[in-house]
């Protein structure tokens, strides 16, 4: 009974934050809502007796990736989105894709005949079972993923390096040597925030992912949550 209440609480929180994420115009509010979604999902994982996945969810997504996203939003002082007239074609495509997704989910739920209850002792989300799985059965995918992540890091680094001479904010993203420029960036950016913002989005996503993946690779073991994606 208590767990049902908690489920309703976390699920409601996740849904509310997700709706707010889509509806909000201010990018920072969107980011905060996304953090709320991640934290609520972590709560749901705990209810499913998978504490390790919940912890990794909070550490990697809420604690690393979203911190970088909020950091960049703050640094660039991104303004509120303007209200654009909605395009009927995009709406139709969105509705169609959403319908397909819901259909898939419904099909999967329908095809699972066993009732979806979780016993506390399945051991799926426990630290030891994930560790054992990663280093025995799923060793090859694990290693391949880490090589992929390494490539992403190197790629992000080289992208940021090349842009360093022209783009101040990129140099800051590159990590170590950008420290001293940090103090000056927002002041300089006030004039041409538009142009910088035009360059940043793809870059920040890549760098943010790379930073988080650095953390993953260094032993925080986010690979399990990666599998969930």
């Amino acid at each position: 009974m208590f767990s049902v209440l908690l489920f309703i609480l976390f699920a409601g929180l996740a849904l509310g934050c997700a709706i707010s994420l889509v509806v909000q115009r201010n990018p920072l509010y969107c980011a905060i809502s996304l953090v709320g979604v991640f934290v609520a999902l972590a709560g749901l994982y705990i209810l499913l007796a998978a504490p390790f996945i919940a912890a990794v969810q909070v550490i990697v997504y809420a604690g690393a990736i979203m911190v970088l996203v909020v950091f960049v939003i703050m640094l660039l002082n991104v303004e509120e989105e303007e209200h654009r007239p909605s395009n009927l074609r995009y709406i139709l495509i969105g509705v169609a894709l959403g319908a397909i997704l819901f259909g898939e989910a419904a099909f999967v739920l329908y095809s699972v005949h066993t009732p979806l209850t979780v016993q506390g002792n399945t051991g799926i989300g426990l630290t030891s079972s994930i560790g054992t799985g990663l280093f025995t059965e799923y060793l090859l995918p694990f290693e391949v993923t880490s090589v992929l992540i390494l490539m992403a890091i190197v790629g992000a680094m080289s992208l940021a390096r090349r842009a360093a001479s022209t783009n101040l904010s990129a140099r800051r993203e590159a990590g170590g040597d950008g420290g001293s420029t940090l103090a000056q960036t927002p002041l300089r950016l006030t004039g041409d925030a538009r142009t910088d913002a035009a360059i940043m989005p793809g870059e920040t996503a890549a760098t943010g992912r790379a930073m988080a993946e650095l953390q993953i690779e260094r032993g925080e073991a986010a690979a399990p949550s990666r599998e969930k994606e």
Partner: protein, 334 residues
Amino acid sequence: MKLLGINIAFVAVLLIVAYTVLAERRILAFIQGRLGPNRVGYGGLLQPFADLLKFILKEEIIPDKSTKFVYVLAPMIAITAALMTIIVYPFGPTVNVPFLGPVDLVITRLDIGLLYVLGITSVGVYGIMLAGWSSNNKYSLMGGLRASAQMISYELSLGLSLVGVVMMSGTLDLYDMVGQQGGYWFYVIPRWNIIPQFLGFVIYLISAIAETNRVPFDLPEAETELVAGFHTEYSAMKFAFFFMAEYVNMFTVSMLATTLFLGGWQGPFVETFPPLGVLYFLIKVVFFLFLYIWLRGTLPRFRFDQLMDFGWKFLLPVAILNVILTATVMFFKG
């Protein structure tokens, strides 16, 4: 039962935190050849309560141009995240309490205790970031940016410095980790993790100081450049929340250091008289708190580029080296 434990632990922690502030002011004063606050109560012992009253009675100012919702939310996040980690630390061994029988002096035991601590700590950054952003003040923004850059940089080496201990103990449950550190090598040297993991301990200590934004890494609130950093616009109880959050964070990182490296409540004669464990635990934690204050009275502040260089180019590689060394030694020892 559990609620009672939580209440006792929280009150105890907040009291200790309040007296840490007083101790800091007195010790700093002595380091600098002054007396410090000694008028309220005997030797200034009631000063924390006077401060609290003052915080409550002062006017709450919300700047006109601030983003109000986030401005109010930020101190709440900071203090909540700081207080949430307390529940996993083992304060002492199983103790026989009159009328209640044997009681574990830990509020809850989590299979993922250490990860829980790291996760909550990483969420605590939001309090500072959002405070800096929502105040709509350039000093606050500067402080918030510095704090978040610093905290995400040092979080990496902090987490990595603990990997060695986790590898050695083979568990993430803090209670088990303390249990494993009982006993002695050669009948004299305690089996604390600090001896095999000395490198990890030093890295942890440095990154923990940076993580809590304390001297010599207190760039986010460098008063000579930034007024007061991210909490420049905050007043009254909201400011007190940030203030408390900083000291609670100091306290929790000290507890983590004690638990992981200094054997938690382990010490001589704990087996025969368990309540001694709480005393040992407190002594070790207070030692770290004193170290914080001592450093503040001794060291000058880093420059920001030095801070970043040190974190990324020195601490992080050394932390990785520590993991590799530990793994190698463990492999050959079998």
